[in-house]
């Protein structure tokens, strides 16, 4: 009984972690950007969904679309206002571009967080689940929404896989993550590749944010926690590896769930953190990382 509970519980939350992490790692893999505005992007999506749902009472699907759109908009804003100017800047030495992008996205994330808190307070926002009600799974009463979240996450990830492996655009993305210079030599415009990856990122982060709002709720105060969590999962799985991130998301999700059930909810995050440290020490490129 407990085992089934843990299994079901862990699955949904891991799927949610996974979606966010995949976006994060894809961004790094293809464009080398560690986007510390990640959490804030998810929060914007969540809050937008809440605002739209409030104004059009009873249409969570419309709210979900609006939220995802907001995620994409935020991603674009991050790219055009912060990341691209730094990447193109001539006064930043090449070796330090990464650090400037990090600091820049960090600051931008704080600005977004504060703006959201200013207009909407830091109270968590929730959106009504896309499908309400509960059902029994192996004797465990589970909200249908949780299952829906897992289904949506995996469908999106599946679509992403199809995109990367079966479409031309996707293959270009893959190539860019391996060797950007070779790509330009072959005549591809990197700027279009980056645009594509930021769009995909925006969609992933947006969906993740909206789902978070329906499941656990999201508040502006959580932005940095969401970023740190995605960051840890991605490093655990291997920076740049999508499969790695998914795997790591499930490892972390289940570790946390097991800790919460079997030891105590107060220590929930500790084993996962310790695991990240151990992996970074013994196997820095992550569980499934390349190179």
């Amino acid at each position: 009984m407990l085992a089934v509970q843990i299994l079901v519980d862990g699955f949904a939350i891991s799927a949610l972690y996974g979606l966010g992490a995949v976006g994060f790692t894809l961004m790094f893999g293809v464009s080398g950007v560690l986007n510390l505005t990640h959490g804030a992007t998810m929060v914007v999506a969540a809050v937008t969904a809440w605002v739209v749902a409030g104004q059009h009472a009873g249409s969570p699907w419309l709210a979900a679309v609006a939220g995802t759109g907001a995620g994409v908009a935020t991603a674009f804003a991050t790219y055009f206002l912060v990341v691209r100017p730094i990447q193109r800047s001539r006064s930043v030495p090449a070796a330090e571009k990464e650090i400037f992008v990090l600091t820049g996205t960090l600051l931008w994330g704080i600005m977004i967080q504060e703006a959201v808190a200013y207009f909407y307070t830091d109270n968590p926002k929730t959106v009504q689940p896309l499908i309400a009600g509960v059902m029994q799974i192996g004797g465990v009463r589970t909200p249908i929404n949780e299952l829906l979240i897992a289904v949506i996450c995996w469908t999106v990830i599946g679509l992403l896989w199809l995109l990367v492996n079966r479409t031309k655009a996707g293959k270009v993305l893959l190539a860019a993550s391996i060797n950007p210079r070779a790509l330009t030599i072959l005549g591809f415009e990197l700027s279009r590749v980056y645009l594509l990856v930021w769009t995909i990122y925006g969609v992933l982060a947006g969906i993740a944010g909206v789902l978070l709002a329906t499941f656990l709720g999201a508040s502006s105060a959580q932005a940095s926690q969401l970023t740190a969590s995605a960051f840890s999962i991605v490093v655990l799985g291997g920076l740049g590896s999508v499969t790695g991130s998914l795997f790591a998301a499930y490892v972390v999700g289940y570790l946390e769930t097991l800790t919460a059930y079997l030891i105590s909810p107060a220590y929930r995050t500790v084993p996962a953190l310790v695991l990240v440290v151990l992996v970074v020490y013994f196997r820095p490129h992550g569980l499934l990382g390349r190179r």
């Binding site: 100017p85 600051l107 490093v235 500790v270 990240v276 970074v280």
Partner: protein, 307 residues
């Protein structure tokens, strides 16, 4: 020595110091209080810059070192240990913490190093909260002693501390050790090829950074009268330290202190804005790093050329 005195950052530092020295003559207790905190932040930022600017290691968790120093001092004081001993213990505690962190962390580069430092802060925070019975957890620890009740005296302590730390850090950064650090930061392989033990030097930089951060953290909590997660451990505090150093101008040491003072003063000046003050300060910092890459120091004059 002459080279030292003729460099821009040093002149800037002396000018700023001169202004700060005159403050008690005309500024109110409130302003002195703000600048006292700014001085301690200045040391946090300078220690960070030594590590980042020179060893090129982005430490996402300066508050791991600061917090370890602060809480070591605080916990000992709560058990009756006299203040001066607590301060020394705080620095020592941070040093130990720094070594424990550095040994695994320095084997890594780039984002992995950054992540380890970040995770260290998160773990420290969890540790403090879980053992709230001893550490005071979320409420914080009330100190038995404080540096002084008088604003002016506190100010002198802070200013002197910042000046001395700054002098030491600046000298270090320009010493042969500092140059090696810079070299290994820019070109790790080249430096090793030249025979320098890169890891050993980075470890040394880490230790120096740790000692100053820890000591400053300990002094800060003796000034405030409380040690709490929100003031010396939280990731948000670490972010402010990083912003201060980058805003001031990386690799100048002096820039970090000036950046910290600017940041804290700006935050206070914008206090009437209420909720939006953090937004505005972050926006200004973002604009600076987008358009004035060398920070405030860059604005004030040409930086020394890198070799």
């Amino acid at each position: 020595m002459r080279a030292l005195l003729s460099s821009r950052p040093v002149w800037m530092a002396l000018v700023v110091l001169a202004v700060l020295l005159t403050l008690p003559l005309w500024a109110s207790a409130y302003i002195l209080g703000v600048l006292t905190i700014a001085c301690y932040f200045g040391v946090f930022a300078m220690s960070w810059d030594l590590l980042f600017g020179f060893a090129n290691e982005v430490n996402f968790g300066p508050t791991f070192l600061i917090g370890t120093g602060a809480y070591t001092a605080g916990l000992l004081n709560a058990h009756g240990v006299p203040m001066w001993a607590c301060l020394i213990a705080g620095a020592a505690g941070a040093l130990v913490g720094g070594v424990v962190l550095a040994v695994p962390a320095l084997r890594l580069t780039g984002p992995y190093f950054g992540l380890t430092t970040l995770v260290a802060v998160l773990l420290l925070q969890q540790f403090i909260i879980i053992f709230a019975g001893t550490t005071g957890g979320e409420i914080g620890l009330t100190m038995n002693d404080i540096l002084s009740m008088d604003a002016t005296t506190n100010y002198w302590y802070a200013l002197a501390f910042m000046a001395v730390s700054g002098a030491i850090l600046l000298t270090l950064s320009r010493s042969p050790v500092g140059l090696i650090l810079q070299a290994s930061g820019q070109d790790r392989i080249g430096a090793s090829a030249l025979g320098f033990n890169v890891v050993k030097h980075k470890l040394a930089a880490f230790c120096v950074s740790a000692v100053f951060s820890g000591l400053a953290g300990a002094m800060l909590v003796f000034y405030l009268g409380t040690a709490s997660v929100g003031t010396v451990v939280d990731v948000a505090v670490g972010v402010q330290v990083i912003i201060a150093a980058v805003l001031g101008g990386r690799r100048t040491i002096v820039g970090a202190a000036i950046g910290a003072i600017f940041l804290i003063l700006a935050g206070e000046l914008l206090r009437p804005l209420g909720q939006l003050s953090t937004f505005v300060v972050s926006a200004v910092a973002l604009i600076v790093i987008l358009f004035f890459v060398d920070g405030l120091m860059g604005l004030l004059g040409r930086r020394r050329e890198e070799s």
